[in-house]
Amino acid sequence: MDPQQKAKQEAYQKLVKEHSPKPNAWKHVMWAFLIGGAICVLGQLMLDIFTKLERTETEAAAATLAAMIFLGAVATGLGFYDDLAEIGGAGTAVPITGFANTVVAAAMEFRREGIILGMGSKMFVIAGPVLVFGILSGFIVTLIRALLTGLF
């Protein structure tokens, strides 16, 4: 690229940066905390209930996760999880309900292209990277721990 064009580009990019709306971080953080917090309170209630019903803590935790995934999926299917995300931002993306949303939203979206080549192949299009790097980082952390504590 010729230097004149490059200077012009840089000047414009600087201008755009100066005039871009600045996000109100505190407001976003507050809403993320409130909405994300509310989802977590719901999760805690579930855990309390399942602790009474299940025999072990692990079983209660598993049941809670399943219940929260179910709720996230239903809220997505009924079409209001994305509206909640518009307010709550990361507060709706981080809890496991957000993970359920990514799978169900993609499944709904690509259902029209068929059960197998549409829904089946595109269901994890958003959730895929979370799974891949979640499993990979889990493996690496476990490997480091194993090496440090001398399990080999």
Binding site: T102, V104, R112
Partner: protein
Amino acid sequence: MAEKRIGQQTIILSNPPRIISHHCTVGPMEGRGPLAKYFDDILDDDLLGQTTPEKAELAILEQTINKTLNKKSLFVQDIQFYIAGDLLNQIISANFSARSIDTSFLGIYSACSTFTQGVGLGAILIDGGYADKVLSATSSHYQTAERQFRYPIELNVKRKPTNQHTVTGAGAVVLASDGDGPKITSVTFGKVIDLGIKDVNDMGSAMAPAAIDTLTQHLKDTGRTVGDYDLILTGDLSRQGKKMFTILAKDAGLSLGEKHQDAGVMIYSPQQPVGAGGSGCACSAVVTIGYVFKEMVQGKYSRVLIIATGALTNALTFQQGESIPGIAHAIVIEV
């Protein structure tokens, strides 16, 4: 030297074609916006009873075309060229719509500036004596554009303040060598301008330099000033792009003031959850056909410069870190 050209990029139509029939259709969201009373048709259901959004966009386009023809009792046999384009891969809505229009078809793409490109090309075909009547149409749909360019509809993504909302709707016009209606007097096809903006959440800033380039070139070619126009309407710069456009205009020595409006800003109210405003091929089309033409008939405007703007990106190039080139095509409409 081609005798119908002036300056570097402008074409003067010495036998200005008339827009003898026009129609615009919008979705429910646009129907709740401030321009609602200007639109010919407002849909209750943005899927129009279809099973997929792609089918819905096609149905909206076909319905708009039929109504445009029926308004003046025109038949497809009267039309020599059908020019259309949209945002989807392989301009599929336009291509599919041409199945039922039994005439020469030209499919075009320049993203959201397709409307003025189509009308401009149609006007040139008529002025040159290659056709008596040309049909030009464009469409866009929020759901089809979202799934092609962004994320699934129900996904938990928070909209950035500079994001734009694709207008659901379609607009069609019939241009003719004689008849009644507003006339197209000149056309300035723009150049591709890329100032290296890579943020797909801010298409307005990416397109503003192209819009200013086309505007300044048009004024230079024609020897006119901003004052010669009653309205300069940009396509879909939105609030952010309009801000950048105003700054760039000032740098170019133009004071636009109230003369400049942006279709993407006008179509929604600030209270609607649309980020910085509207976008899409239908944005400039429905605002021009709905608002501008009707206000021209009312006598509010007599000479208007429409500069539709397009962001020439696709879903792969931005992931590969490419920038977003912009383009802007201008047409002058007079009564």
